[in-house]
Symmetry: C2
Subunit: 337 residues, 2 copies
């Protein structure tokens, strides 16, 4: 009766289709290698608002509206919204959705939120609780910098292992009806604490969680890397990407070019001065809702695994000497049900 | 096929039983009218840790362990944990569960988290994704004060409408098998923004959300106040409690003594110097997992509606002139399936 197969992977019993997705990003993201795939690129980091926090909320709302438009449905037609973000008390999500009058489940999954929200949205539809649900998340470089690190005006320096919080949002609507692509399997994350404490090296802190979840997904499903046309991690960046490859190499598995990281894809690491690449909820969100899902439409791939990664620390937990626990939720998306 | 009845209320299709619950609170809570019902009262606000944030995490972990013990199951037997808290980036939950190796869905529902987590846990079990899930949340007066308001050492004054963040945690395990009480209906919250901006009067900000959700629950189910032996709001406090009564009076409905608020129940408002009563994720959590569920065991009631309330603001959103949007998730708990 249970949809849990193997250790902890869930296999949906009914086709849950991604019927629409939308992505909105900032100027810098719109100058990167993926600029072709975003629905809207804002030249204004304030998105017309007075503060960067309000800008982040504006961006989320804009992305949500775009997604509903692409699904050709009124927002009021949705049964649920699952949303979260990086700001303290997740205010950018709450303020984005505060006038929607939609059943709202607030999440905190750090940068794994796109996969967490998509997983819970799909489970809710598969569970028979409604027909459609939206997964929504994003992040903003300027609000994240001043919350997590320093005010931008301070001009702080960043070490080479640091990543660049993506200004971007992604929204996806899943439905009990639709032509696909379909969410077929979900491997929810467990928290993995490798004991790392360098808040300027999140990739290293999150890579063990990505390794654990992807390995569990393969073990539970009997699939391997070759089953998928592509496997994406959320925002490990160049350092975390290499650590993950190394962890699999230690098991005798070469991940090869099928394995990509959204944080590495987002920017040109040689020319855009982002050090190790993109991070933030908006990284995986905008790459999934832009590049990855457009790749299905174009026929680039038919089976992908999206393994979004999150670091479950806060500035205060780091100041108090805490380690940086990581989590990774994985969602398998396939053209055929 | 859908389990959605009426407007947005969900009716579970299979019996999801609350097989165990546990509550852990601080000294002040243990001196209040509900002292009989808590599983553990800590005399030490630090719970043996170095900081109040670590204490909060310790309390959550202790409560989780107690709950597993009461369910006579190893923590590893759980299929999912749904958890969240008030601290920035929800670190007390993440650190409490970081060594559990359990599938973890992080939530942010502010003080509504107990009902949000219980709702999603129940939906996940009803949806066939596993056999057991734990809903866990809490809050700590000292960590909340310095994050939201002032360091305690500052000795700041509080206006009469202010509430007292409960030092407390609650955990409940739901299962596909068990003797009840059962979660029968869920009315997920929508965000309601009444435009209020006084961060020292959260009860007033959240009462409209409670009104909206309870009214929706009655309309969707065809039930009314008389159906339930008791209806509990999460943490409206005395001011919010009275506002909610007034909102229903305007509809010609007298809520009467069946309606209670966890924040009012938690403390003796005349003698414990908490102004309007308790608040925080731990308020509804410890009252539900202590008083309310023990009331089922004692035969005090057979049908209750728990309507946990949350204020989706942050100190920064208030500083930027934002309003205080509220949300209320409601869960119906009944002795008979």
């Amino acid at each position: 009766m249970t949809k849990k197969i193997g250790g902890r992977t869930l296999k949906l019993a009914t086709p849950v289709s991604i019927i629409a997705s939308a992505s909105v990003v900032g100027k810098k993201e719109g100058e990167g290698p993926l600029k072709y795939c975003f629905d809207f690129i804002s030249e204004d980091s304030y998105f017309g608002e007075e503060t960067w926090e309000k800008a982040e909320s504006h961006m989320l709302k804009q992305c949500f509206t775009l997604c509903c438009n692409k699904a050709q449905m009124a927002p009021s037609g949705l049964d649920f919204v699952f949303s979260g973000d990086l700001l303290n008390q997740c205010v950018s999500s709450a303020f984005a959705m505060k006038d929607s009058a939609l059943p709202y489940f607030g999440l905190y999954g750090a940068c794994s939120t796109m996969a967490e929200s998509l997983a819970l949205a799909a489970m809710t539809i598969d569970g028979g609780f409604g027909e459609t649900a939206c997964a929504l998340t994003g992040s903003h470089f300027c609000s994240a910098e001043r919350q997590y690190r320093f005010p931008l005006e301070y001009g702080g320096q960043r070490p080479p292992t640091a990543q660049w919080t993506v200004t971007g949002a992604g929204a996806a609507i899943v439905s009990a009806t639709g032509e696909g692509p379909f969410i077929t399997h979900i491997t929810p994350g467990i928290i993995v604490d490798a004991g790392l404490k360098d808040a300027n090296n999140m990739g290293a802190a999150m890579a063990p969680a990505a390794y654990e979840t992807i390995k569990a997904h393969f073990a539970d499903t009997g699939r391997d890397l070759n089953y998928y046309d592509a496997v994406f991690t959320g925002d490990l960046g160049a350092v975390g990407h290499d650590i993950l490859q190394k962890l699999f190499q230690d098991d005798g598995i070469e991940m090869g070019p099928r394995y990509m990281d959204c944080g590495v894809l987002m920017f040109d690491l040689n020319t855009q001065d982002v050090h190790c690449g993109g991070s933030g909820c908006g990284c995986c969100a905008s790459v999934l809702c832009g590049h990855i899902l457009k790749g299905f439409a174009k026929g680039t791939w038919s089976k992908v695994l999206v393994a979004a990664t999150g670091a479950l620390m806060s500035p205060l937990s780091c100041q108090q000497g805490g380690s940086i626990p990581g989590i990774c939720h994985a969602v398998a998306i396939e053209r055929q049900w």
